[in-house]
Assembly symmetry: C2
DNA sequence: CATGGATTGTTTTCGAGTGGACAAAATTGC
DNA sequence: GCAATTTTGTCCACTCGAAAACAATCCATG
């Protein structure tokens, strides 16, 4: 904007400075064809939308996904849950400890394998998930609003295939 | 071990514990239709592939994307680069500082705006990017190997549209 | 100019997530 | 039965990245 017309006070040594110095547009080069890069951008946007919707509830994407999955799989073992959600076991231990102290989940040691921990939602946990689920579903419908319904469907199918699900 | 966790001895009343307790399969429920969840899974996989390919080179996805983009946009200002790559300015300051100390990039303060910093690759930076680029391009072709060429093309188009690029 | 506000990058502080060592329990092989 | 190995969760140290306060500089308006 302001840059295009302004003379650059470059010393001779600065002559090679490119156009991008002042313009707001950046060439992505090989990055424009990078799957990881595009996935990262998309995920950042998705998380920002999630936080915008759930900031007031103190919920994070990871934590909410843990609660949802425990509800869908009562008694699931902590390590299996971690594998399914691609959360490291050491991190899952922290998350589960926090939810346990918050009274949202119950940790039960099965008698036939006393190393393991089985997770279930407490009554409070069920209430929280039930209360937030409508907003979550609404948020999911609104995400990817830049795409048509068909495009969204195609994107999901491709991501599922990519993730082996 | 779990001194804090009182082992709850199972009684017949616990019989409602779900199938997931021991099975390795987990039902995802509403998560199966969550864009953010699928994006997260895909990105984790993509990053793991990147690290598997570049671990020996001590390169990280974010850092490499910064170097690539500086090469494509010599003299780009640090804040504009941060915006383009969706890296926070405070984080970009760290990254740029590290690369500067490593002798890979040069930070130049333009005389007409002495707040700004313009970034260019040093000779060593150019050599590093040039040396790693073939492996990067190879890695990009190999990623998303679970998809056909057409599917990959479609996925890219959808992600670009989703990201507004 | 001069002063108040906006922009740009840095620093500090904090939480999320990882990796590795560890302890307890289970399983396997002898 | 018993030792060695494996599995499961936890703890500790660390890195990556974000939020916010900060300093320096530029700009706009009088």
């Amino acid at each position: 904007m302001r840059a295009a017309t302004r003379p650059v006070v470059a010393t001779p040594a600065d002559a090679e400075t490119g156009d991008a110095a002042r313009s707001g547009s950046v060439a992505f080069g090989p990055l424009a064809d990078s799957l990881g890069f595009h996935l990262r951008l998309a995920q950042i946007a998705a998380f920002e939308e999630f936080f915008a919707a759930f900031a007031e509830d103190g919920l994070q994407p990871g934590g909410f996904s843990v609660l949802i999955t425990i509800r869908e799989n009562p008694g699931v073992r902590q390590g299996i849950l971690a594998n399914a959600l691609r959360i490291k076991r050491s991190h899952m231990a922290k998350i589960v400890q926090g939810f346990g102290e918050a009274g949202l989940i119950e940790r039960r040691v099965p008698p036939d394998d006393r190393r393991a921990v089985e997770l279930t939602l407490t009554e409070a946990g069920h209430r929280l998930v039930a209360a937030k689920m409508p907003k979550f579903l609404q948020h999911e419908r609104a995400s990817a609003a830049a795409l048509t319904k068909d495009e969204r469907h195609t994107l999901f199918a491709l991501l599922r295939k990519l993730n082996g699900l």
